[in-house]
């Protein structure tokens, strides 16, 4: 979906993307703190649109004929020719800016939807065991981060209890200090709990091999990339070295992973519902791609001259399919978190 949204600046299509994503999230999110973050992403998307418009007004290249806002234009030296500081704002330019922003905003929304529906903790389950130190930091981060919002709410309420109304610098400090302490305490408690329950127990010792493989792999990857991008180096230094380097990296991870023995209670089931959601997500992307191939102009907003946007059928059909998971997948909590992996596809 994110990929599909990235292709369009057509407002009708972007709005359709937004509706589909919101619909799926509303229908299938659960009560976890992750499920509640969707609103945050939506807000972030809105902020991006607003920023884009403001930037356009301030420094963007103004074009078009429908005058919106006459502003004085500052003269800039010739080396800054691409930048126009101030100046009259035209509808077409502003709309273009807003839609550029909306495209990015919609991608953010798609990622937000994935986040709201799939718990990141499940992804960490398949995290390579060799990197368990990083893994534990990640688990702590994804667990404690959403709780920040709760801490913030609590502390702001406490501030009100002390009769403070404004959040000046001092206010900021008075809010930040307890929250940081709270977060630190929670992180340490969680890390201690994970450790106390055996996270990252080393059963065998083969650290040296892992280290050697990883170092070799990283070096190989770097050299290989350089070889690929630099045309003067012999071809043998390019792709083969890159592949060998990546292989060494994987081998290193595998060797390290063997050191930490761990089993998985239940493999993530991958059933009809999962195929349906992935299929629908891909369908949306295919819809956009087909349109891009056939009539690329219809994905964009006609700005010169300004006209009503077209509604390309394949994209709409794809999006209609993408809303299917909202009704076709089982209701959470049973499978909520794996309902919509596709959103990132």
């Amino acid at each position: 979906m994110a990929a599909s949204a990235s292709l369009a600046t057509n407002p009708a299509l972007l709005a359709a993307h937004g509706l589909v994503l919101t619909g799926v999230v509303m229908a299938r999110r659960d009560g976890s703190p992750w499920g509640r973050t969707f609103r945050l992403y939506a807000a972030l998307g809105a902020v991006i649109v607003a920023t884009r418009v403001v930037l356009h007004i301030l420094v963007g290249l103004k074009f078009g004929e429908h005058r919106l806002l006459p502003l004085p234009q500052a003269d800039l030296p010739s080396w800054a020719a691409g930048i126009q500081l101030g100046g009259t704002v035209y509808l077409e330019g502003a709309l273009g800016g807003a839609l550029e922003g909306a495209r990015l905003g919609m991608m953010i929304l798609a990622i937000g939807a994935a986040n709201a529906l799939a718990s990141p903790k499940r992804l960490l389950k398949v995290f390579p065991a060799a990197l368990h130190e990083i893994g534990s930091a990640l688990v702590v981060a994804v667990t404690v981060a959403p709780q920040l919002a709760e801490s913030l709410q609590r502390v702001v309420r406490a501030r009100q209890l002390r009769g403070e109304m404004t959040l000046r610098f001092k206010g900021f400090r008075s809010v930040a200090m307890p929250i940081l302490q709270d977060t630190l305490d929670r992180s340490l408690a969680l890390a201690a709990a994970m450790d106390g329950r055996g996270y990252g127990r080393n059963e065998r010792e083969s650290g040296r091999l892992t280290g050697a493989l990883a170092a070799l792999g990283l070096m190989g990857t770097a050299v290989g990339l350089y070889g690929l991008l630099d045309t003067t180096t012999p071809a043998a230094l390019g792709m083969p070295v890159l592949v060998a380097g990546l292989a060494a990296c994987v081998a290193g991870l595998w060797a390290g992973g063997r050191r930490v023995r761990r089993t998985i209670y239940r493999r993530e089931p991958w059933g009809v519902a999962e195929w349906v959601t992935v299929g629908c997500g891909v369908a949306a992307l295919v819809g956009s791609l087909v349109t891009l191939r056939r009539e690329p102009l219809s994905l964009g907003m006609p700005l010169r001259p300004l006209a009503w946007p077209a509604l390309p059928l394949p994209v709409l059909a794809g999006l209609l399919l993408a809303i299917v998971p909202a009704v076709a997948t089982p209701v959470p909590p049973l499978s909520s978190s794996r309902a919509t992996r596709e959103v990132t596809a």
């Binding site: 659960d30 009560g31 976890s32 703190p33 718990s119 903790k121 688990v139 667990t143 609590r154 502390v155 309420r157 406490a158 009100q160 209890l161 002390r162 009769g163 403070e164 109304m165 400090r173 008075s174 809010v175 200090m177 307890p178 302490q181 929670r186 340490l188 408690a189 969680l190 890390a191 201690a192 709990a193 994970m194 450790d195 106390g196 329950r197 055996g198 996270y199 990252g200 127990r201 059963e203 023995r261 761990r262 089993t263 998985i264 209670y265 239940r266 909590p333 049973l334 978190s337």
Partner: protein, 578 residues
């Protein structure tokens, strides 16, 4: 080591051995634990008691290597867990033999649902999936939470969460279970659930349990042995032996000490048997049945009169006290959940009112709504001058209603006690020194340059209370103030709130602590499912309920006495009469 030769003498195998263990944290002036020698045998339920800051948590932390691997500090001596030395074994290397459950179960949850949480420890120990499935089922049944298997952890009640936390360490089948204040956040019923589970583990599976707890009245009757920590030094013995002169003691022990019973009873059952003569003496005074001890009843017997004069001077008078804060049709909705359903409540001025009820009964929502900053969906709130706190500006509201939230330390953010006090004076536009004077009243002798984080729980609470009282509010609301307080600190707090009420303040305290209620409150409001189900004088309300009756009342029923102080005074006055 061979346990068999010992077993012949009726001794179990020592599973935990502490050999001259001392712990010293950097920047600490004195070691937290000094020269601790302790040996805990298999299948024992050991209760660790002591005042706040005595080193209980540190002692528990040493048992799985959490101290010093996670906390830092210098540990000398040896801690052996089933022969494994914590100097060479990190907590993760002991995960298969020691399970640790902390005070706040949510802080330790790694996954999202009950089933995943139960399996997590086993996944780390690399047990085969078939074993895991079997053990998860067994544990779900053992703890009675089978119907919750797919439930998100955050949606569970406090008691359920604590049981899941216990279950999640049980699945690795540890031989030792270490619990740090497992019931401190739970209502009496939730605490009963957890403790019943623990005793079952000891008796059915022979698990060794080490448990630290402030509310001894909940645990001590189950303990085989009590370990008391005083200033980092440790002594251990049978409950009756240690309780004879321990620094902390539950009311039933206080009563036993007062009545000089020997052997000292630690359970209600034993105490009731020992109390027969005392009851006869009290009964001989013509004590009426508890249920008939209602407000304004015309009974003329001494005890009833004594009791009324004890709990509240105004109790015996028939005048209805003016409400300090009144709510009409108050409703609070959190999303689709209706936390408070149309509550009509008049909290009397000049009295201490306790707000009780299950976890999630709507107590906190009610307090915040009364204060005016919390959500309020419908209804009206009025303080004495008729104004509604919700419509006031924060500063004006503060001068009428003060609230001390559950996590009182949220209110503290400066780096010294003195700075906090000055800030409080400035906020309420009071002369400098007002807050400090209040603090010295509540908890004398806290140096002004002390960092608030270094204060004990009781001192922190006193500081926050002083900050809130600086504005001079008529109404004081306290949300769960007794968490983490030991008996002496709770007695102080009871004195403080009674003093506030004596000066005409309206005090409303939400709490799970029945003993504190018996000690401090004149009236009790009981909430269930967002509604007020009972409201009346403390003896009437708490004695009528099995869950809320304090220990002294249980021992001395039918005499209407709730605390040892009341018994003492009743007998003294009876002595005067007779």
């Amino acid at each position: 080591m061979s346990g068999w030769s010992d077993a012949a003498y009726g001794m179990g195998e020592a599973v935990l051995e502490l050999d001259r263990v001392s712990v010293r944290y950097p920047e600490a002036s004195a070691p937290t634990l000094r020269e601790v020698d302790l040996s805990i045998e298999e299948g024992e339920l050991v209760l660790v008691v002591g005042r706040t800051g005595s080193g209980k948590s540190t002692l528990l932390g040493t048992l799985n290597g959490h101290v010093p691997h996670f906390t830092g500090g210098l540990l000398t001596g040896r801690v052996r867990v089933l022969g494994r030395d914590t100097a060479t074994h990190r907590p993760r290397d002991l995960a298969d033999i020691v399970g640790v459950v902390g005070q706040d179960p949510v802080a330790g949850f790694v996954t999202d649902t009950v089933e995943e949480e139960l399996a997590y420890g086993m996944e780390q120990l690399a047990l085969p999936p078939t074993t895991m499935r079997k053990r998860v089922e067994e544990t779900l049944d053992l703890l009675g939470i089978a119907d919750l298997r797919a439930a998100p952890l955050r949606d569970l009640s406090g008691g359920q969460q604590q049981r899941v936390a216990i279950g999640s360490v049980l699945t690795t089948q540890p031989r030792i279970l270490v619990l740090d204040e497992p019931t401190s956040a739970l209502d009496p019923t939730g605490a009963e659930e957890v403790l019943a589970t623990l005793t079952r583990l000891v008796h059915d599976l022979g698990v060794t349990i080490v448990i630290a707890e402030h509310r001894l009245e909940r645990v001590i009757q189950y303990a085989d042995r009590v370990v008391e920590v005083v200033d980092g030094r440790v002594r251990s013995g049978s409950p009756a032996e240690i309780m004879r002169d321990a620094t902390v003691a539950p009311p039933v022990v206080e009563l036993g000490r007062y009545a000089a019973w020997s052997p000292l009873p630690v359970s209600i059952r034993d105490a009731r048997r020992a109390a027969a003569p005392l009851r006869a003496r009290l009964g001989g005074l013509g004590a009426p049945l508890l249920t008939s001890a209602s407000r304004g009843s015309s009974t003329v017997d001494t005890l009833q009169g004594v009791h009324s004069s004890l709990t509240s001077a105004s109790r015996s008078s028939l005048t209805v006290p003016t409400p300090g804060i009144r709510a009409t049709g108050l409703r609070v909705d959190h999303g689709r959940v209706r936390a408070v359903r149309g509550v009509d409540l008049a909290v009397p001025a000049g009295r201490v009112t306790a707000l009780m009820g299950r976890n999630g009964a709507g107590k906190s929502s009610l307090l915040w709504a009364l204060h005016g900053t919390g959500t309020r969906s419908a209804g009206r709130v009025a303080v004495t001058d008729g104004s509604d706190p919700a419509t006031l500006k924060p500063v004006a509201r503060r001068a009428r209603v003060g609230l001390v939230p559950q996590t009182a330390s949220d209110l503290i953010y400066l780096d010294s006690v003195g700075a906090e006090c000055d800030q409080a004076d400035a906020e309420s536009a009071k002369p400098t020194g007002t807050c400090r004077a209040l603090l010295d009243d509540l908890a004398p002798g806290i140096p002004a340059d002390r960092h608030p984080r270094d204060l004990s729980e009781g001192q922190k609470l006193a500081l926050v209370l002083a900050i809130q009282l600086t504005a001079g509010p008529d109404v004081v609301l306290l949300d769960e103030p007794t968490r983490g307080l030991d008996y002496p600190a709770k007695t102080r707090l009871a004195g403080i709130v009674r003093g506030l009420a004596g000066h005409g303040h309206t005090v409303l305290i939400s709490t799970h602590d029945v003993e504190f209620v018996a000690d401090a409150a004149d009236e009790v409001v009981v909430m269930a499912e967002g509604e007020v189900v009972a409201h009346g004088p403390t003896p009437d309300v708490v004695a009528a309920s099995a869950a809320f009756a304090p220990q002294v009342a249980k021992v001395l029923a039918p005499a209407p006495l709730l605390t040892v102080a009341q018994v003492r005074q009743a007998l003294a006055e009876a002595g005067d009469v007779g």
